[in-house]
């Protein structure tokens, strides 16, 4: 197709998009004037009924817990896909451990960087745990805290020690965390079905709003999701790392 024809087609498309956009934007409520009913209802009953002061986590893990189950297994399935695609193929092999460990201690990893990483690893893990367990009280929750938790071991790689990262987060452990978290979340739903007759209906004591152990299933679900997400990210990352750092085509030793 010639340049003029392409520009002409783009012009027609852009003009059409512009018209629809302006028309559509004219119909939305003014900035800051929320008109939904659902949000207002939840805003009124969040603390009163579920004892969760962070309504977003309350929404994810209680009011719409079933939707989160779907999201949970989307993440689980996509990590499974990564593992499947990035597996070691027949004409590839992993480099011997010692050799690759030497190679990866790149020149940039000074003692200062390693000392910084030593301080960062526990603080990232502590921050992640804090955000996971306080999901029902303050902004955060299982997903956010889970990803922060996963960055703890990642810092070991940034300081030039990939094998240390593998030692800090062994494959079996992170895979187990991924699977146990996903299963735990589904079990909370089943618990509702068994004890109070409705899938994902809260069956745990609600406690006092603002306390660490409160809001019934929201807190427990947050921990399960945190476990699943941190496991999922670490499994995904380490598959990428293995491919980029360890796996070599046959004959390249």
């Amino acid at each position: 197709m010639s340049r003029t024809a392409r520009l002409l087609m783009f012009g027609v498309g852009a003009a059409g998009l512009g018209v629809v956009l302006v028309y559509g934007l004219g119909g939305i409520p003014a900035f800051g004037h929320y008109q939904g009913v659902y949000g207002r209802v939840l805003d009124g009953i969040g603390v009163a009924q579920r004892h969760a002061t962070d309504l977003v986590t309350g929404l994810n893990f209680d009011f719409r817990a079933f939707d989160t189950l779907g999201e949970e297994f989307i993440l689980f399935a996509s990590v499974l896909g990564i593992v499947l695609i990035l597996r070691e193929m027949r004409d590839e092999h992993e480099r011997p451990r010692q050799e690759e460990a030497d190679e990866h201690q790149f020149a940039g990893a000074s003692s200062a960087l390693r000392a910084l990483a030593l301080g960062l690893i526990p603080s990232m893990i502590a921050l992640g745990v804090y955000i996971v367990v306080h999901g029902q009280i303050t902004p955060g929750g299982g997903f956010q805290g889970g990803v922060i938790l996963a960055t703890g071991p990642l810092v070991a790689f940034l300081s030039g020690r990939y094998l240390r990262m593998k030692a800090l987060a062994p494959h079996t452990i992170i895979e187990l965390g991924d699977a146990a978290g996903a299963m735990g979340y589904a079990l909370i739903g089943l618990g509702g079905l068994v004890f109070v007759g409705v899938f994902f209906k809260n069956f745990l004591p609600l406690g006092i709003p603002g306390h660490l152990l409160s809001a019934g299933q929201i807190d427990v679900a947050s921990v399960a999701v945190g476990l699943e997400v941190s496991g999922a990210f670490l499994v995904g990352w380490s598959e990428f790392f293995d491919q980029a750092i360890l796996v070599r085509p046959e004959g390249d030793r």
Binding site: F31, V56, G140, G141, Q144, V147, F240, A244
Partner: protein
């Protein structure tokens, strides 16, 4: 709308353009993570701290790590192929 909100919107608009305009994939991955930071600011000033927390970790750590490792693998493949051709 406050000044902060307008600034965050402008940063996101500029950042999105910059990601598209970056030609080199390596540079693009880094610009993408800066764009993620702008999005985090946007969510934060529009009072969505939960979303901001997810965005900051995924866009500044989660995604770039995967992109950079994939780029490294691709380069290795290209180098190996060039050596074979010789």
């Amino acid at each position: 709308m406050t000044v902060l909100q307008i600034a965050a919107l402008a940063a996101v608009a500029l950042g999105g353009g910059a990601v598209v305009a970056a030609k080199d994939p390596l540079r693009q991955a880094l610009v993408l993570s800066i764009y993620g930071l702008a999005l985090t600011m946007l969510f934060f000033v529009f009072q969505a701290p939960d979303v901001a927390l997810s965005e900051i970790v995924v866009s500044t750590v989660g995604l770039p790590v995967m992109l950079l490792l994939a780029l490294r693998k691709i380069r290795e493949h290209e180098r190996a192929r060039r050596e074979e051709d010789r």
